[in-house]
């Protein structure tokens, strides 16, 4: 019990709960099945990206190319399913994975091989990935994705499939982080890079794999967003990388590396979704929505940091009788 109270996620979860409670008073429809489903489904692509981002942030890195990677994958997938006779659920999933692994691996390679600051590499590759699909498609949308494809993300017997996929992905990712050598190396590198090296962690390989994994997540997010929307807008989702970072950080991932959990990120993503949904549900005038949104995020983060600083300053630094 005490453990649960101590955990970083508990605080955000409480804030989220209070927010939901307030919203449900303002509008009873907020807690309806449809609304909850909408909030969850709409944030699935962001959530999957934020999951990959969590890995990257824990290593004390950053990936500003996630949105570009997602649309990169989404664009090729939509072209594939509309043009190719080979397209079926298996090949599409394979394609998404391969594309994601490739874009992620390029990031990972550049970052680990040349030890360049991740933010620079990913800023660069973000424009490259986005540039490639825009040049290729000229920005035109790819419309009318086939039914079998959009059905992959339909609601089945009241169960929204994309949410199921996301839960699955999060559980697997949490398992990787918690239970595998790779996962623990991710924490080790973020916590103390030199110490990790001395402990025999292969830094280059782990960093490479981290970005590749993040790419894989983005590739899958691309598949899901296509399937949810039924068409593909290559210029879409700009700026989502910041949302993904914000979601992970709100969920307790330390941007300086070393800590963070999938559960936290899941809460962070839902929190972002609820705020966005809540602003509309609470009938806040459009012009003030961004203001309120920024304010909530600022307050959440500030509150958390102040709490942590205070706890640190009160910390027993030596053993006293």
């Amino acid at each position: 019990m005490k453990k649960i109270l101590e955990r970083r996620e508990t605080g955000v979860f409480l804030i989220l709960a209070i927010l939901c409670f307030m919203l449900s008073i303002i509008s009873p429809a907020f807690l309806s099945y449809t609304n909850i489903k909408n909030v969850l489904v709409n944030n699935v692509p962001l959530g999957i990206m934020a999951g990959g981002m969590t890995f990257v942030l824990i290593t004390a890195g950053i990936d500003t190319s996630v949105a570009s990677q997602m649309m990169f994958s989404a664009t090729w997938i939509s072209i594939f399913v509309t043009k190719s006779p080979l397209a079926n659920p298996v090949t599409v999933l394979l394609l998404a994975a391969v594309i994601g692994l490739c874009t992620g691996a390029v990031n990972g390679f550049l970052i680990s091989k040349f030890s360049i600051a991740p933010i620079i590499v990913t800023l660069g590759t973000a424009s490259i990935y986005r540039g490639i699909i825009l040049v290729y498609t000229n920005g035109t949308w790819i419309m009318n994705l086939p039914d079998w494809f959009t059905n992959l993300c339909r609601t089945w017997n009241m169960i929204p499939l994309p949410v199921v996929y996301t839960i699955l992905i999060f559980v697997i990712s949490a398992y990787i982080l918690k239970r595998t050598y790779f996962g623990r190396s991710v924490y080790a590198i973020g916590g103390n890079r030199n110490a990790a090296k001395y402990a025999g962690v292969n830094i280059g390989k782990t960093i490479f794999l981290t970005y590749t994994y993040c790419g894989l997540m983005c590739g899958i997010a691309g598949l899901v967003i296509d399937s949810i929307l039924g068409n593909c807008q290559p210029s879409g989702s700009t700026g989502w990388e910041m949302n993904a970072i914000a979601a992970a950080v709100i969920g307790g991932t330390n941007i300086l590396g070393g800590s963070g959990t999938m559960a936290g990120t899941a809460i962070g993503v839902v929190m972002m979704g609820v705020i966005e949904n809540g602003l509309v549900v609470a009938h806040i005038p459009t012009y003030y929505q961004k203001l309120v949104y920024g304010l909530i995020i600022l307050v959440t983060v500030t509150f958390d940091v102040i709490r942590k600083n205070f706890a640190d300053s009160r910390k027993q630094t030596i053993e006293m009788d």
Partner: protein, 303 residues
């Protein structure tokens, strides 16, 4: 070499379907008329970078700048420079505030005409009553804001029983438009219609409506191309698309530019190949009708 003109066809933003249609037709016009057309525009809705592009086109020494201004006044200083450099300036699709800065405005419909038309058509499907919402691109987009404003004013004046409950930006991102529509239907259970004044909005709204199983209960109309609207019109989730032919507009812009460069004039009731008859009123070349695209006639359109 005198008739080897270079025309810069500058759109508000490249990479959105509407202007890509103009691009394709504009290029075609270039080939038909034997002049070089450079199609360009900012990659994001950023008025200052459109001004940069105009400056670079002046430097490049094009003969004519045909521009659809992102912002009616932000582009004026750059156009002034173009005029000073002796370059023919025409506007198309939307106009500048200071009309002395351009020779001709190739007009499909003024903000007011389209805005009111959108309102009228939308209201008809709504039955003249009920709550509705408008989805725009970004709050700072001038054309979209103006259309929304005129549509709202029209409905306020003519249908007192209609109430606009929300005005939301979707950042020209269809996934955001989609979730906004869902949110709106939750926030306003009595919502009876969604008007999208930017092309990603109506299809996304239609999809959200269809998924909620409320086809027809929630009216969706707005500015969107026939090809994008087609499947939604056919499955009944969208009622109507109101737009002019953006391709023909691009074609007409290039045609007008070429005509003026050659020293000729555009005249009323003139027959423009591939476009049709046009009206000329003062310094505006007007491409007649706004298309009302419905499930019945959607297959007649090729854009």
């Amino acid at each position: 070499a005198g008739d080897d003109y270079t025309i810069a066809l500058i759109s508000q933003q490249i990479g959105i379907p509407y202007f890509e249609t103009s691009n394709v037709w504009g290029m075609e016009a270039g080939e038909d008329l034997g002049c070089e057309v450079i199609y360009t525009g900012p990659t994001a809705s950023d008025a200052a970078s459109q001004a940069n592009i105009v400056q670079d086109m002046i430097t490049k020494g094009v003969d004519c700048i045909a521009i659809s201004p992102l912002d009616a006044s932000a582009i004026e200083p750059a156009l002034k420079q173009a005029q000073e450099a002796g370059i023919l300036v025409i506007t198309w699709d939307s106009d500048v505030t200071d009309t002395s800065l351009r020779s001709v405005y190739v007009n499909a419909a003024s903000y007011q005409t389209l805005g009111e038309h959108l309102g009228e058509r939308f209201a008809e499907y709504m039955g003249g009553e009920g709550q509705y919402a408008i989805i725009t691109s970004v709050l700072t987009s001038q054309a979209n804001s103006e259309w929304a404003r005129y549509a709202t004013e029209y409905m306020e004046a003519n249908f007192p029983d209609m109430e606009r409950v929300a005005y939301e930006p979707c950042d020209d991102d269809q996934s955001k438009a989609y979730s906004i529509t869902q949110n709106l239907m939750i926030a306003y259970p009595d919502l009876k219609g969604v008007l999208g004044v930017t092309t990603p909005a109506p299809p996304a709204a239609a999809q959200a409506v269809a998924e909620a199983g409320r086809n027809g209960e929630v009216v969706v109309t707005g500015v969107v191309e026939a090809s994008v609207a087609k499947s939604y019109l056919e499955d009944g989730s969208m009622q109507e698309a109101n737009i002019w032919h953006p391709g023909k507009l691009g074609y007409l812009a290039v045609y007008t530019a070429k005509t003026l460069l050659e020293g000729n004039e555009m005249t009323d009731d003139m027959e423009v190949p591939k476009v049709g008859t046009i009206d000329v009123e003062g310094d505006q070349v007007i491409m007649t009708e706004i298309l009302d695209i419905t499930a019945q006639n959607v297959n007649e359109f090729d854009f």
